[in-house]
Amino acid sequence: MTAANAVQTFIDTVDAAAASYMEACVHCGQCARACHFYETNNDPRLTPIYKIEPLIKTYKRHKAPFASLRRALGLVPAEITEDELNEWSELVYDTCTMCGRCTLVCPMGIDVAALVRKTREGFVAAGIVPEGLTGAAQRALDIGSPLGIKPETLRKIVDEQSQEVGIPIELDKVGADYLVVLSAMELLNFYEVIGALARIFKQAGVSWTISTEAYEATNIGIQMGDKEVARTLVGRIVDAAEKLKVKYVISPECGHAYTALKWEGPNLVGRPYDFKVVHILEFLDQLQREGKIRTKGKDTRRVTYHDPCQIVRRGGVVKQPRAILDTVSDGFVEMSHAGVANICCGGGGGVSSNPRAEDYRLRAFASKKKQIDDLGDIEALVTSCANCRNVIEEAIDEYGMELPVIGLVELLADYLEPESDAGEKAKLAEA
């Protein structure tokens, strides 16, 4: 019965784009060479296009052109079984971060990651999802955060940050221009970003707020392939934003959150938003270009930048982080494959929430490590996704490396022109 649910979902979920992808694949195997899981395990099963075999089989059996003719001749693949789904669960959930790097090397331009997403939807329908992900989804639905951050905790964190930087932060402020949502990982591990944002926005004169009803942008539904969960989580942000009558929602330093909020959200809730979604890097870059952010001094360390897949390759925010880095860093060097071809940290797409995948995740990091090692003496790694940051920090420990990992927004905040300077300048100008 569970397999039948998966089959039905597979059939429903395949549209013309997905069909074109499955029809066009010539089994050339190039995608394997772009996959950090394949490259670090050397296992033929980890070839990206092979990971979606259940979807392809079902499509060929039920939906492809000539399917009925082929069925009559006995030339279609057998119906997929529950055993098969269980076997494939490892390939669909543990060894794919939906980073989409394989598309870059595909002669047919196939978006394999999108097909993995659709395959995951079938797995959700069949109830074959790793426990780590279902648990996170449950917490997100029940509490409001996959990592279990409750509104009270949020208040406490915001309060703390507000005191630390000495700037009042007003929660649930109706009529603010910008609504800031954060990633679960930021609230758990990297909440300094709230103070950093407060300082930057104060200098730039941005009117902003945080909602206590929708403070998390992390969308576990997008990661695990559960459209219902995804819709509910995006819906919360949409409701909160519209309730607070904000003009913009700022997507945080989090990869899949951006995909969820900006690109898939309107399609999930079934209508365009009343507000606009802007990524924090885009926004900061814009403020900088408008001269609203003034920095002083530069970081002299030799740093490099890790591109979060969903923000860069699948989000289109490529130049902005570089522009920001250049204003605050003197020692910024690009790693090989920087930009759209960057290698994933190994923990995106729900892999980091899935304890079963830990070995794969740590091994996949070897590809990232090589990029970093090839640069020689790197003193810090900058990134703009809290999940990447957490995954990389863990892996760095595991590999016995020593390398601080920094969030880009925090780095920018560190080099903001101090208020006293600004005040003096203002006085001078008046005089």
Binding site: A16, A17, Y21, A24, T103, A114, H337
Partner: protein, 214 residues
């Protein structure tokens, strides 16, 4: 030689019909599935993205040249060779002019035709052996991959065996193998000759809106 007459007459029309109708049916069958309107706010236009993707995927991203050089070399050797032989060899132009299009064009010299055929053979041989001599390729290959490769090889081989152009039965053998190839085409992965436009196009449309062309 009744067999030769059948091969060059009715069977040819049958094969050509199956090819044309089958290809159209399959493409329409894919497009018919449709896509829901994307409600997200685009950063850039979709159609330029599609055009960009069509060309961009002629080559892998430059990060992968080193890892994919063998496949890239063999793939282009085969495809360019086959394309040139197919459309610029004198006997093929004559056939197309007489039987299909009603007009012809300048053929290339015979030596260039032979060299192109050799390139096509070299590429195809490399591609097929890559498929069977690599565990990853074997893992993802199915019967269709091999049948398609072999039918193409046989069609090319019979063509090369008939190069003397002095033997009716050799010509008919080439015709027959091409007809089998044409009939097999719409039901197989050989369709990638057309579907590549769709897959690259959709990726270009979807990501073009996001301002990237992966």
């Amino acid at each position: 030689m009744i067999i030769v007459e059948i091969i060059e007459g009715p069977l040819w029309y049958l094969a050509a019909t199956v090819f044309v109708v089958g290809v159209l049916w399959r493409i329409i069958g894919i497009l018919r599935l449709g896509r829901r309107t994307d409600l997200s706010v685009p950063r850039a236009a979709a159609i330029p993205g599609a055009v960009k993707a069509l060309f961009r995927h002629l080559l892998p991203h430059h990060s992968f040249y080193n890892k994919t050089k063998l496949h890239l070399f063999a793939g282009y050797l085969f495809h360019i060779g086959l394309f040139v032989v197919l459309f610029f060899a004198a006997p093929h132009i004559a056939f197309l002019e007489e039987r299909v299009l009603g007009f012809g064009w300048e053929a290339m010299p015979r030596w260039a035709f032979i060299v192109s055929a050799q390139a096509a053979f070299a590429g195809l041989i490399l591609l097929w052996f890559r498929r069977i001599a690599d565990p990853t390729m074997r893992q993802i290959s199915d019967a269709d991959d091999h049948v398609g490769s072999w039918l193409t090889f046989i069609a090319m081989l019979t063509g090369c065996l008939a190069l003397q152009e002095s033997n009716v039965s050799l010509r008919a053998l080439h015709m027959l193998s091409v007809e089998i190839w044409l009939i097999y085409f719409p039901f197989s992965r050989l369709m990638h000759a057309f579907t590549f436009v769709l897959s690259r196009g959709y990726t270009g449309i979807i990501y073009g809106r996001r301002g990237v062309t992966p």
